[in-house]
Structure formats: C-alpha cells, structure tokens
C-alpha cells in the first residue's frame, strides 16, 4: 500500500464516522411514491420478508420453547381453537364446540375437508393422537400440564371429538389451541419417545396452517409458501421469508435499506430514529401492549420484606412513570396487577401506588424503620435496610430499571446493590434455590387468567414458580375457585377480587407492561391492529398488484 492510499483510507474512516452520526434523512429507503394512490384491492402474490431475532430451534413447536420457533410454527400448524383480535377464543380446526354445564364435557365438531399439507385428510384421530403425544411421559414438552386434568379424549366419529375432564378446569378450552400434529407421520416417533429427532422437526413439517414449509437454512433463514388449501382460504401473500438477524442494529439498517419488510424495533429506534419522513412513508408502525410485564420481586421469606407495609412503601417510592419514560421512552403501560389492561380479566378498580416519597417514609416508619445509621441507611434493631437486587445479564432493560429504583430508594434511606448475573446461573443458583433478596424479572401473561402456579402457596418448591414464597389463604381460595369454573362471568368475579388482594398485598411490585413495537412495509395492506397485535390475520394481509416488489407467484 502506498502512503497515499493509507492517507485516503484514514480519510474514509473519518467520513464514515460522520455518516454514522447523521444523514438519515437522505437514506435510500424505497419509498414507493405512488402507493397512496393505489386502490387497496387484495391481490395474490409477492413475498413478505420478516426479521427474526434468533434461530428457530425446530419445526415441531409442541416440543420447543423459544419465541422464534413459535412464530414460525404458528404459521405452519393450527389448533382446534385460536384467538380473535380481542384475545377471545374462536374456532380454528373446530367448527364449533359445546361445553356441559358442569364444565366436565366438551364436544368439538371439526371442520370437514381440512387437509394436512401432504394431502391427507385431518380427522378426529389426529386430535386424539395429539392429546396422547402431549401426555406421553416420553414426550419432552413443557405443555403437558394443560392436559393432566383430562380424563379421556374420544373420537366419536371422524369429525367429532369428545373430551371429558376429571374435574372442572378453567383453561380447558384454551389448552386446545395446542398445535395439532399429523398422526400418519409422527406416530412411530412419539411411541419411541423421539419426537424431537423426527425428520419433521428438522425439515418438511406437516401441519394444517396457512403456510407450508419450504426451506430452513440454520441460522440464516426460513422460507414458507402459501397453503392453497388453507381452510380459511388461501393467504394473499404467496411467500414468507424469515431472515435470522441477531443484532437489532443490523435489523434496523436492513429495514432502512429495504432488505426486510417487517421487524420489531427497540424503544430507541421506534421513538427517536424512525421519525423522519422517508421512513414514515416506507413503513407503518403498529405498537401494541405485549403480554409481558416487568416486576420487582422481593423474597418474602426475608423478615424485612414479609411486612406488607414495607412492600407498599417500596411501591410508593418507585416512580413508574419515570421508569417508563427513562427506560422505555414512554412505550409501556403502568401495571397495577398481573393482567394486561384491556383484556377481560383486567380489573381497573384496585389500589394504586402513586409516586409519593413521604407516604413511603410513613409506611416504613410504621413498620419500625425509623432510625438512620451513619451512612444514612434505615436501621431496625441494628439491622440495616439494604439488599442485593439481582438481574439477568443481557437484559439492558432490567439493569436500567434496577438503577432507577436504586436511585429512588436511596432518597428513602434504603440501599440497593445491583448484581448482574448470567441467566442460566441466576435461575439455577439464585432463583430456584430461593437464594436472593430481590430480583428484577418479567412474567409472561397467558390469555387465560389462571395464575395458580405463580401465586398459590403450594407452589413454592425449587422448581415451582411461586419464587417469592407468597402465601395468602384468600388468594389460594380465589385461585382454586377461578380454575374450577369454565363460566367466564363467574371466573371474572374471582379474578377481580384476586387483583384487589394482590394490589393491596404487593407480593411483587408490579411495574409495567412493555409495548411490542413492530413495523411493517407500507406496501402491505390488510393489517388491522388490535389488542392482540397484528399477526392474527396474516392470511388477510396483501400487497396491491402495482406495489408487488418480488416476482414470486
């Protein structure tokens, strides 16, 4: 390399630094200037490219547990029931169903003329097979629990399935949203206990869903093609490509360059880096409340935290708005309990904890935390109010929330030390062994309100989910009643009361429901944002003919 070349390279590097700082306005996003004038008439064809954060781990989602696999899996498979845009159950492979008054018997009428992707007819035998797969002790699935209360599943005729429960089970209907598996292909693998090793988990999965599998290149991409025989009609978009891109920064640049049509953004990208005209024109944002809330958990076996007033004081001391603004740039909703606002179990009339440091101080004083030591930390009987707050490595969000909480507790005279620990180690060494004082974690929320496993006092052993050691007889009773009924109005009464008690008790400090931040190319039409998100009607998404970008028929 000549000296001049080296100098030129240095000059180039400086230019790069500038390019990185600004210049977003003139980026080469494909704007499709005519699109607003195009009549939005549905048309078949085109390819939709979505960015996936992680590699999928397999193609039979019943034995998997990661988000990307579910996202792809739910395009390939379908269940007896599914969810509509308001998270209410609707029939999928089941045309209709009847429940007996005592909630013990369910009869599903199956759709006729549904075919597996290989042309085989879908019948009641497949439903029975899927059930047997889920409860087979050799099947490594995380969802067997849902089928424990089932006494029997019988194929009455090829299009009628009768399910009998041992006792009423609140989640009974919801559990039949499980992906149906083809008996004629998978039976030998299930019997051997080798479902994960079945070739259908690696290539050529066969389902009844709206898309058929076409290709999976590990760590690179998954390609699906429209299922012309889909029971709700052939989807308009004829091909879906999932590009596996681990880095959110890269995903964002791919969006700007038009290399992907849909992706989830980070709060920063969503709020600050996409508000320029070219991006707004090329993409549409569809934020919605995610089914996940972030909380501060306190180990209730610790005598300091066993006192409800201390937890209430903490709830008052935390400024949820500040956290939401600071960490999520406003893209989250305050949580008042474990149910998502806007869903049927949610009860808005519960005790709330507005940010109030004075009130927090009073509550702490009432609990005996009045004096401060030389470091300005509250002490009671010589014991200072300081604790370690554990959070998972790689969760930038968790760490930031922890830092804000640390600062607001400091004013109160409560000292918080933040410790960031790798997830597998955090889970095994601290959480499961109950070897923690406080944790910063998140809970996923299912559409069914049954949260027996999280709050019931019998669920506190190491592998169980009542990690904080919460025990309240009234809550136990409400949880039991709630899951023993299948009548929504009756269940709602129990769960409304449950939320009141939890809000009063603050067994964990509920912080916020995160928002999901997807963007989709503006050439894609037919998207109807709803509380459940946007994916639910993917088969109705389409690209008007003049806007077709890829030639795939």
């Amino acid at each position: 390399m000549s000296p001049r070349a080296a100098v030129r390279l240095l000059g180039l590097l400086l230019a790069l630094a500038v390019a990185g700082c600004g210049g977003e306005a003139d980026s080469s996003v494909d704007t499709g200037a005519t699109q607003t004038h195009v009549a939005a008439r549905p048309a078949y064809g085109d390819t939709y490219i979505e960015a996936l954060r992680g590699n999928i781990s397999g193609l039979i989602p019943n034995v998997l547990s990661d988000g990307p696999s579910f996202e792809v899996g739910s395009m390939i498979y379908s269940g007896l029931v599914g969810y509509d845009k308001d998270s209410n159950l609707k029939g999928e492979l089941a045309e209709s169903w009847e429940a007996s008054r005592d909630c013990l018997d369910f009869t599903f009428k199956l759709r006729r003329n549904v075919k597996w992707h290989d042309g085989h007819p879908f019948t009641a035998a497949d439903v029975v097979f899927t059930y047997e797969t889920m409860v087979n002790p050799k099947t490594p699935t995380a969802y067997a629990g849902d089928f424990k209360p089932v006494e029997s599943v019988v194929a009455v005729d090829p299009y009628t399935v009768h399910v009998r429960y041992k006792h009423p089970h609140g989640r009974a209907l919801q559990s039949w949203s499980i992906w149906m598996l083809p008996k004629h292909l998978l039976e030998p693998y299930v019997l051997e206990g080798k479902l994960r090793e079945a070739p259908q988990n690696r290539a050529n999965p066969v389902g009844t869903g709206m898309y058929r599998f076409s290709e999976w290149r590990t760590g690179e991409r998954v390609v699906l093609t429209a299922n012309p025989d889909y029971f709700e009609g052939r989807p308009y978009i004829s091909r879906v490509v999932y590009r596996i891109i681990p880095s959110s920064a890269t995903t964002f640049l791919e969006l700007k360059a038009g290399g992907v049509d849909g992706a989830r953004l980070t709060a920063l990208q969503f709020k600050r880096q996409t508000e320029y005209p070219a991006f707004r024109k090329a993409y549409t944002k569809y934020p919605y409340a995610a089914n996940i809330y972030v909380y501060l958990g306190l180990n209730l076996k610790d005598p300091r935290f066993a006192d409800r007033r201390v937890r209430q004081a903490f709830a008052h001391a935390i400024n949820k708005r500040e956290i939401i603004e600071g960490v999520r740039l406003g893209l989250a909703r305050e949580a008042t309990g474990p149910y998502k606002p806007g869903t049927w179990p949610y009860n808005p009339n519960v005790r709330t904890y507005p940010h109030d440091t004075e009130k927090a101080r009073e509550l702490l004083a009432a609990a005996g935390w009045k004096e401060k030591n030389a470091d300005g930390i509250l002490v009671r009987n010589g014991q200072p109010l300081k604790f370690d707050l554990l959070t998972s490595q790689g969760s930038d969000e968790g760490r930031k929330v922890a830092e804000i909480i640390q600062a607001s507790f400091k004013d109160l005279g409560v000292q918080v030390e933040i410790r960031v620990i790798e997830w597998a180690a955090l889970l095994k060494e601290y959480i499961k062994k109950r070897n923690f004082e406080a944790i910063m974690l998140a809970w996923g929320v299912t559409p069914d309100p049954d949260q027996y496993d999280i709050w019931h006092s019998s669920k506190t052993s190491p592998d169980e989910l009542n990690r904080i050691g919460y025990a309240n007889p009234e809550v136990d009773d409400l949880l039991e009643k709630g899951r023993r009924s299948c009548v929504e109005a009756e269940r709602k009464k129990h769960y409304d009361r449950l939320q009141e008690v939890l809000a009063e008790d603050q067994p964990i400090i509920f912080l916020y429901f995160r928002e999901e931040l997807p963007v989709v190319s503006s050439r894609v039409r037919g998207i109807v944002p709803a509380p459940i998100g946007i994916q639910y009607n993917f088969n109705e998404w389409f690209v008007p003919k003049p806007l077709h970008r890829y030639t795939a028929g």
């Binding site: 990185g20 547990s65 760590g219 997830w423 597998a424 299912t446 027996y452 496993d453």
Partner: protein, 332 residues
Amino acid sequence: MLGYALRRLVLALPLLIGITFVSFLVIHLAPGEPTELQGGEVTSTQSDRELRERLREIYGLDKPLHVQYWSWLTRLARLDFGRSFSPDARPVLQKIGERLPVTLLLNIVELAIIVVLAIPIGVFSATRQYSKFDKVTTVFVFVGFATPDFWLALMLMILFGVQLGWLPISQLRSPMWEYMSFWQQHWDFLTHLVLPVVVATFGGLAGFSRYMRQSMLEVIRQDYIQSARAKGLAEGVVIGKHALRNALLPIVTVLGLSLPGLIGGSVIVESIFAIPGMGQLMVQAVFERDYPVIMGNLVIVAALTLVANLIADLTYSLIDPRIRVAARRGRR
C-alpha cells in the same frame, strides 16, 4: 523427521484426553443446567419440573459425573460426538458440519489477505524506518487496534449498504437467491462477503504487519546483512532474499497458532452480519449449556491446536537451516 512427527503425535493423545477431562469438568460444574432453560421460562406459567426430570433422564444428567464423562469418552473414541441438547436434538457433528464451511471460508480468505498485505507493509516500514510511510502505517495500526469490530461494521453498513446502496448489509445470500441465475448467485454471494471480510481483516492486519516490521527490524541489524551489502549485492536481493527469509520465522509461529482459530468464528462479526458460523453456534451452546456441542467443538479445537503446533515446529526446520543442522548434530 517422520519418526519425530509420529512420536509427537502419540504424545499428544494423553494431552488431548487431559484437556477434554478438564473441560468436561469445568463445563459441567458451571452453574446452570440445560434442562433449566427449556420450560418456556418467561412466557409459560406451567410448572416445568416433570419436563426437567424427563430431560435429565434423556440427556443422562442424572448419572454421576465420572460415569457421564466415561460414556462421552467411549462414544468419542468411536467418533460419535452425541446429539445436541437443544430441542432440535441433532447430531453434534451435523451441527458443526453445517456451520464450519462458512467460518472456514471467511477465515481463510481473511488470513490470506492479511498475510498478503501485512508482509509487504511490515517489510517496507522496517526498511524505511521513521519514514513517512512508516509513520502513517503506525497510525493506521493504532487505529486498527483501537477500532471496535462492531462499530466499524455498522459504519461500513451505513455507508455502503444504506447510503450508497452498493453492498448488501448482512447475511450471505439475498432473500431472492433461489430465483437468481447461476452466475448471479455467485456474484450475490461474493458481494455479501465483502463487508465481513473487510471488518475481520482490519484488526488482524494491524497486528500482523507490526510483527513483520519488528521481526524485519531485528534481522536487518544483523552482521550477515552487513556482509551481504558489503559483498555488493543489490538492496532488493539483500532484503528480499537474505533478510526476508529469516524475518519470516516468527511469523510462521504466529500463523501456526492462528490455525485452530480458523474454525472458531468471530462472535461479533458473525452476530452483526447475521452469518451462521461457528462463533454463533458456540456462544448459543454456552448460553444454553448445550454440553455435547461445547465439548465437540472443544475437542476439535484442541486437536487442531496440537496439530498446528506440530506443523509449526516442522516448518521451522524446513525454512531454517540452523534448526535442521542443530537437530542433526544433536542426534550424532
């Protein structure tokens, strides 16, 4: 020579087993277990104890550690690396095998470019020490060392991918790859390689050219270089023939040591460019505590390191007559 090589190979075997034993122990004693992480932890409210016990049994984690190691080792002796603990349950060799070609390709191209560029840069800046060229390359080298991979990658992506639109941003193929003609496919693949190779080369180039410069500087101060010049040889011959051959010796060591690195991908470059290589596989395996994949990879790396050391030693005697002669004398 052959006997020496064979002797070294035989001695390497117990060493290899020792390495696997220590690694096995360390990996299994690290907190966390693969079975912990498959319950759909965050999104499921289901209790996952039964699943865990089922998985422990399938994976053989319920047995004592020495039993586990022994069964792993005996299977390894038959070249059976086992199946991955991740839910795809695929054979480890298959998982490594599908990612290895990409990583090898990237690394070999990168190393070749580095060697081709670094040697002349090193030689020139040594022979013209403190010249303008030397000073500029010194600055360049510092910049190269100091530039974080991911930052450089993002900057190049913004410039060439977004602003100019000349090059693809990530991955190795376009989404419409299968609809391209044969030549388009190859061109597409090549253009996808440019940015990752540039980024990976940049840091390595800096270090390598420094080695070369240092080594050259030492050699040209030697007496025999003086004699060569005194004999009236042309400067080109003195540097190109007499000095360079000697200066290359330490470079061979460094090259030899970078051989095992060829199969270990760079996690940062791979993640940012979304390239499914060995780096991503290994990191994911570690986070998921996928013991068979981690161990399989370790065995291959360890074996390669031992082989690379051997090759480096043998190459010495090939290019350095002094070592050859000393070896012969020693035997006498």
